[in-house]
């Protein structure tokens, strides 16, 4: 165990907490009042802001900033694996060729669209 004096992180935590509340407010505000041209942009910005919050929680609340490289590895590697999973699935479904694909088919409530 650490025998040296622990520094107090209360001030840091309070600042981070404030930032998290701020970003939450931004998340809702952007979602409700700002409309992006494409759906992809909406997702991108939503995830971006969420990632800001996540990074704050992980680095400071969870103390990852001060942990050793192995801990970093076992946090980052699973995230990489998840991106690989997403990548694999999105390499598949969007590029499948269906019967009648040469006719322009738009997203609709109709099941047979896909």
């Amino acid at each position: 165990m650490r025998t040296e004096q622990h520094t107090s992180h209360v001030k840091t935590f309070t600042i981070i907490f404030g930032l998290l509340l701020f970003f939450t407010f931004i998340t809702v505000f952007v979602a409700k009042y700002i409309h992006f041209e494409s759906d992809l942009l909406t997702i991108f910005f939503a995830m971006l802001i969420a990632s800001f919050k996540a990074v704050l929680v992980v680095l400071f609340f969870m103390h990852l900033k001060y942990e050793n490289p192995i801990t970093w590895l076992y946090f980052i590697f699973p995230v990489v694996i998840l991106f690989i999973m997403l990548g694999g699935v999105f390499m598949d479904n969007p590029y499948r060729v269906q019967l009648g694909d040469d006719k322009k088919v738009e997203h609709s409530k109709d099941v047979s669209a896909h």
Binding site: I84, M85, V89, D92, P94, Y95, R96, V97, V111
Partner: protein, 562 residues
């Protein structure tokens, strides 16, 4: 080297203290946190399931020996291959070498007294037992009086599963059998695997003896580490996938059901995302075992130690990016198929590096052919066949023809049985004196190996040909022109079964009934686990050793420790 039997003295009335007689009584075993005892308990349990799964296989081969229906209905046959697959995979070979030999050896090899979380280790074993129990319960078909049948049915016990061990949607959603129980069992077993993997990763990182740097670890430890990483990170994926399948089956939300707009191929993506890495969980520890045995029986340091270690870790990493090669004909896009085919070719490279290094280790070595070495050599031969036939299957155009034929069946039996199971047999024979303090009968060991080796090849070589001729897998019957090869395969299965039984009886008999004490280090290995007494004491080491050298210095020093 093995002719020093004259040195063995009979066991006196008072045995030296070791982990086996440290505490006695069944309660001391059921509540043990000693990794060696837990390893042994796993070993006995998985052996039982090996034989149950093996029985299912023999029944299948009995049916398939002749064309035309013989003993079973098609539905029963479906149940048999599902059982064979599920039991062999989830209950036998996935715990396999890590839970048994890994548990026993890891702390000894790194100079620790136990794993990082001993109680978690025991919990892993009990979770395994619960999962195993659920799998057995899933076999129950409604029977008896009316009220009992209704009760069993309402509990979901509607008969043994017939979906195949892969539980593909949409059939697994519709099947009237006990899918929820079986997938629930697999889910529970997954937790056992995760916790074991977690335990091993922390153990290897934190509990190495002073001086035991990463560069001095035996290759078995590197292999176990890579395996543990896969166990910990891949298994949650199948866990949640099976939960989703259960939810889909019970509540019908539609994610895997095409009639509701769902995507059954998505189930396959998630399922194989785990089930490809799981085959590396099965075989990587076997690579490690072979890497321990070959230097000892060639009296030469292992060739390319660093390359083998890097290869182990890269196999673990690569294993996560190739899963869709199980889905080439399931309807995935061409883009995905091409990408995954290329990636699958690349995963062969680190494996090939290892095979090359083992062979190079033997070159100009002083080779002896004790039973462990026979299994190790058999492994190299069988895994070469396995690996190269894998390349056939990775080739897209070829796979379109071979998928779901007996070619695939032969390929994966060569990898899993010819690889992982042979590796387990090699490990059992090699470390038998360490674990038990006794010695098995070498002659019987060799005879048994011969039956295993011949029987295995007789069973599965014809299946490659059958596959090339177009015989589909999971089929209960077939046209008459396939009969000769099927008959050969079935005969091989019997020989194979006999070999395993003979080998295990050899080990069991000498474990329980031999009164002759084996030498402490009969194969003169240099790694840490052999420097303690056999069997090891409860705490593994009197004092934690300080390591000053790597473990493969064969030929550099003469260890005259007969």
């Amino acid at each position: 080297m093995s002719e020093n039997i004259k040195e063995n003295e009979k066991v006196e009335a008072v045995e030296p203290k070791n982990y086996l007689n440290h505490e006695t009584g069944i309660w001391s075993w059921l509540t043990t946190v000693d990794h060696k005892r837990i390893g042994l308990m796993y070993l006995f349990t998985i052996t039982i399931f090996f034989f149950i799964g093996g029985m299912a296989a023999l029944l299948m081969r009995a049916e398939l020996a002749n064309a035309g229906p013989d003993f079973f209905s098609p539905d029963t046959y479906n149940t048999l291959f599902t059982l064979h697959g599920s039991i062999m995979i989830f209950l036998f070979i996935v715990p396999g070498i890590p839970a048994t030999m890994g548990n026993f050896l890891l702390p000894l090899m790194i100079g620790a007294k136990d794993v990082a979380f001993p109680r978690l280790n025991l919990l892993s074993y009990y979770i395994y037992l619960i999962g195993a129990l659920m799998a057995l319960i899933a076999l129950i078909k409604p029977f008896g009086p009316e009220f009992m049948q209704t009760m069993l049915s309402s509990l979901g016990l509607t008969g043994p599963v017939d979906t195949g061990w892969t539980f593909y949607a949409p059939y697994s959603i519709e099947s009237g059998t006990a899918v929820v129980w079986m997938t629930g069992a697999a889910f529970v077993l997954g937790f056992s695997s995760i916790l074991t993997g977690l335990n091993f990763i922390v153990t290897i990182h934190k509990l190495r003896a002073p001086g035991m740097t990463w560069g001095r670890l035996p290759v078995f430890v590197w292999a176990s580490y890579s395996t543990a990483v896969i166990q910990t990170l891949a298994t949650p994926v199948v866990g949640i996938t099976l939960v989703l399948l259960i939810i889909e089956r019970v509540m019908g939300i539609g994610i895997f059901d095409p009639s509701m707009g769902g995507d059954p191929v998505l189930y396959e993506h998630f399922f194989w995302f785990y089930s490809h890495p799981v085959v590396y969980i099965m075989v990587l520890p076997a690579f490690g075992v072979i890497g321990e045995i070959i230097p000892v029986f060639s009296r030469k340091p292992i060739f390319g130690y660093k390359a083998i270690c890097y290869a182990s870790v890269s196999i673990a990493a690569f294993s996560f990016i190739v899963w869709a090669h199980h889905m080439f004909v399931s309807g995935i896009s061409d883009v995905a198929a091409i990408v995954f085919s290329i990636l699958t070719f690349s995963v062969a490279i680190p494996t090939a590096v290892k095979v090359f290094n083992w062979v190079a280790t033997m070159y100009k070595g002083s080779i002896t052919f004790e039973t462990p070495m026979l299994y190790a050599l058999g492994f190299i031969f069988l895994f070469m066949i396995a690996g190269t036939t894998g390349i056939y299957l990775a080739t897209l155009a070829v796979d379109v023809f071979y998928h779901d034929t007996y070619f695939v069946v032969a390929h994966f039996h060569y990898t899993i049985q010819g690889g992982a199971v042979i590796g387990l047999m090699a490990a059992l024979h090699f470390w038998f004196p360490k674990m038990t303090g006794k010695m098995y009968n070498e002659f019987i060991g060799k005879i048994a190996w011969f039956f295993v080796f011949v029987g295995f090849n007789l069973t599965f070589l014809p299946q490659f040909v059958l596959g090339m001729q177009g015989m589909p897998r999971r089929y209960f019957d077939y046209p008459i022109e396939f009969e000769a090869l099927h008959m050969a395969s079935s005969i091989g299965a019997v020989v194979n079964a006999f070999g395993y039984t003979f080998a295990l009886l050899n080990l069991l008999y000498y474990f329980f009934f031999s009164k002759v004490k084996a030498p402490r280090n009969p194969y003169e290995s240099l790694s840490l686990e052999w420097q303690t007494q056999s069997p090891p004491i409860h705490e593994n080491f009197e004092e934690i050793p300080i390591v000053t050298d790597g473990v493969y210095s064969y030929g550099k020093k003469i260890k005259g420790d007969h």
